[in-house]
């Protein structure tokens, strides 16, 4: 039942021989050791498993590997690393938008997706863009502040 699936993961070409019915989430976590993408419900209701495919946020728990062939996937591991944080990561730390951290990877990717297409979103647009990412710790206020802060950081840099 296994098939060869080729795709670009965090900028690198990957070729895997996997069962195409398995979810991207499980393959990232179990086969590729990329555990930054989280499983909060495994049925598309929480957004913790959010990754970007071709720049768009999707639930990796609802995406079979068969759909990934030829795609470009970005996970939290590809956003930035501790020595070179992405401005969103920097902003989340500075503003205090991280508490337990479980929603954070998915939240950051949803935030990246909005800033990529809308560099200076309004408060309402930011809230709308992360409405698919549940957070039980922060009450969202500081997450929204962090995304605004990152938008300004990014604008200052470009």
């Amino acid at each position: 039942m296994k098939q060869e699936i080729r795709f670009i993961l965090n900028g690198e070409h990957v070729s895997l021989n996997v069962d195409p019915s398995r979810t991207l989430l499980d393959v990232l976590r179990e086969d590729l050791g990329l555990t930054g993408t989280k499983k909060g419900c495994d049925e598309g209701d929480c957004g913790a498993c959010t990754v970007l495919i071709a720049g768009k946020p999707i639930n990796s728990c609802l995406t079979p590997m068969g759909k990934i062939n030829g795609q470009e996937v970005l996970t939290i591991e590809g956003l930035g690393d501790p020595e070179q944080l992405h401005p969103l990561q920097e902003a989340f730390l500075k503003v205090g938008a991280v508490q337990c951290g479980y929603c954070t990877p998915g939240m950051l990717l949803s935030a990246k997706a909005i800033l990529d297409i809308n560099p200076q979103p309004t408060e309402a647009e930011i809230r709308d863009s992360i409405a698919g990412n549940l957070c039980r710790c922060t009450g969202y206020t500081k997450i929204v502040e962090a995304i605004k802060y990152a938008a300004n950081l990014l604008e200052g840099r470009s």
Binding site: M1, P57, L62, S110
Partner: protein, 290 residues
Amino acid sequence: MGFEYFRPGSVEEAVSLLFEHGPQMNVLAGGTDLLVKIKHKAIHVSKVMDITGIDDLRILNEDNQDLIIGAAITQNEIVRHPIVAQKYTALKEGAGQLGSRQVRNLATVVGNICNASPSAETAPALLVYEAKVTAVSCRDSREIAIKDFFAGPGKNSLAPGELVTKLSLPAEPARSGSAYIKLSPRRAMDTAVVGVAAYVRLDSAGKCTICRIAMGAVAPTPVRAFQAEQAVIGAELTREVLAEAGRIAAEEVRPISDIRASADYRRQMVEVITRRVLETAWRRAEGSNK
């Protein structure tokens, strides 16, 4: 999840796979409904055919002024499409309120109606546009009126071996307007307690020449409110007409009580939401110069 995975490259290949494997073969587009059912063990699935790799199903354009929506077009592609935003507002509003943004990047409009949930967010809009569903099989191709497409909760009227390839929405003339309102306690990622779409076309004097109203989550399938529509056709926009349409619509529905709301509440909300959505559609028609 352990099913055999097929990814045909053409409609011909897809329908022959359906023919060959019969009812064992399940069609997967966005997968946001099917995979959840599989994970919940609500269904057991051995074979899945992913149709999103078929280029012919990725059409989203105006053809002879009809809007064509291919079966692989996602909800967010609909939301972002300029023609949809301009002319098919109710559809944009329905698609834009389905699930989360992440789900909308996966889920398709065609998948939403094939899944035939009574509360499907895009169904009321497609009903008021009188969309046509194109179903293709090995042998032939046919068009099904959207009002005949829904057969019951989770049931559509496709015959074995048939695949929906596209939806066609008739061209929208000037002086027409549409809207969709979804009522749910949570403001995102929620299932509609009631969802109503309305479509209004006006003559030059401002009288309604065509009115269509459709509702979700109030009957075993998404349904038209034909009697309420009759109360609007020929009328001018008044508070009384809107109220009357709401009242009649509330009488037409057959809601149930479930975990989300009671039947009584749903019925009351049909009245309120029908009135509101009709007014919005009407205002849009008045303001449109398409």
